[in-house]
Amino acid sequence: MKTLNTEVLIIGSGFGAAPPALHFCERGYNVLLIEKGDNITPESDFKQTMDPKYLLKYIKCLKGEGIQFTFAEGLGGGSGFYEMVSFRAPSQAFNLRNDSGKRLWPTGFERKSLDPYYQIAEEKLNVHQIEKDCIPKNGIVFCKLMRNLGYSVDRVNYSVKDCRGSSFCVAGCKFGAKQNLITTYFRTAEQLGLNRIANIQAKEIIPLNNNGHYSDGLRDINKTPFNYQVNACSNLSGEKIQIFTKILILAAGTVGTAILLLNSRKYFNNISDHIAKNINVNGSIKTVGVLPDDFIDGDMFVGMSHPGVVSYEFLDSRGITISTSKPLPVDAVSTAHFSIEGEDGNSSWWGKKQVDFMKKYRRKALVLYALGLSTSTAELRKNGHNSYKPYFNIDEKFRQYNDSTTQLLHSIFRRNGAKVVNLDFIDGEGNEYHDIHIFTAHMTGSCRMADDISQGVVDVSGEMFNQPGLFITDGSTIPSSLAVNPYLTILANAEKISDAITGMYNRN
């Protein structure tokens, strides 16, 4: 068994991990970062392929009842495989309330609380708004569909430099155009002394010297004892590793952080009951349509993966944003069985009809999807020894949201003369789900921040209630759906928390 000591241990390497790694390194702390997945060198490891063997090395799924979570495992977390579309969450998200009327976000936490940190994150990831004359063809098609009905469309922001439009963004950009955490945050942090190790999985956390009291005033890192022991193991050699740390930062993502805490629960006193609950699904609803022959062509296979546009038209009235995406062929056929509405009602998920549809897919198919401020939540439940499964309670409220949103998206197609494509979503073996099944990579909130332990897991500075020195900085702290891609909000919140933590400690 190997034993390591460090001042700061960060578990995970995604959007929640990058800011604390950089902040602590900039201030001269001894920082160790461990990542469960593989090390990634973007220039040589990213490939233009949809080969499941390659993708499944990094992209993982947790399948459950009514829901499937998708997340990345590997250095940089989701930053290697995201669509690089960068949103500040709308103000409405921060004002969401639960069924009892209680605000989901902590008191005083508003969009303007995050704006300075959004700006920092945007600068570090080279985020800028797409130029009007660079919108990919599918974005133009979307724009035309919406404008025909009098709806507004806005251009989105991207984290990209010198994009070639090769369309394989979600497989990892081998050209280095899409900005990821490996070549931005971590490269700088490493120059400042970050020690990072891949293929190390944290198994459990044991609190040491924990009297449950927060020290008042500035905490002196030199006088701070090793507060936490993390038992980990190498995924390559199986070697067991004990890591002792003064400050522990959990940034393994909404799924990873919650599972690690559940597996460590026996060692903790007075830990929140909210761990692994309240998981927001971001109200993800997807539809597909086939454009009329006389409509301009789109292009599913050329240009950036995200088509550069979003409509906020229904944010106030329905709490949703509408956008479009460009699934490559493997994504399309492995997500759902398609049948075009009105074409004799028979499913056309294989054979001639399916080939006819796939021949139209590149130029004439369009995906419309909505993300929404839904308050229906999922949770992780035990499913065997140290194994967990997500459950999504599809309540009446969510059914209504699903139905009304789907109807709206379908009506956008129909009023433009497009045909709606019926989707039967399928599992990994090709079997249809018989009820609503949500696929999301936008899950947040399994360790949400709150005013007190009766409402959540961490306070606004990311520190776990009753666990001094244990911080959570990833998407699990975000208490609500955002109706937009959450990565920039996770990154900005991690910047904000890192600012707060480094302000709590004195390095001298």
């Binding site: 004359d133 990919p136 974005g139 251009r155 989105v156 301009i296 296979f301 240009g303 090709g430």
Partner: protein
Amino acid sequence: MENQTKLLANNLGLNNLLRRWKPQTNNPEKFSDMMKRLKQYNEISKTEKYDLLSIPPAMRMVLKIFPHKYCKNDSLKEKILKAFVTTVIPGSNENDDNLVNMYLDSYYPFHTYCGYFVYDLNRRSKKLFNKKEFLSLSDEEKTKVIKNALIGRELTRRLYKGAILMAQVSYFGAVYDEEKGCPLIDFPGRNNGYNQEEITYSYSSKLFDKELSLDGHPW
């Protein structure tokens, strides 16, 4: 006992297919007898003389109780698999070297029950079309064979749905030849990027007069 079956299935890469199958008996002695008998059937079934259809498909798959030529004869297996793919994806090229790679790829569990799958295609063909083998059927007849399997037992349905999904993923996604892409659906595959005029339309800048914000963040 159930664990024993699961272990066996797991060793053969069939755990997904067999996860709902349970042995008919709870008596360990009877179970042991059953396993012995099934092994004997395995021997008997090496030729095509006996078709032991009374045995559940799951057991026939696990213990390879079907004519062994479907496992041993790679050329026959490939021909039948290619015919299956060209039926599922009309227009796909049967001379494509990569057409059935995914079925035979040891990364996927399907390769372990590939033999049973091609046997089942032939068995259904003979049953439905007067002893004609799958390879000798017309496209329409081949389609009927697959449709017949898709309304069969649950295990059979899952096997065929999985096989169809693999054909689509592999062929449309050009998984075994990213350079070539999939010409049938105009998927270009691997590329070095595109010119501006291929990515967008020249008039795109005129379409954004109704934006709600200057920076993409209206609220």
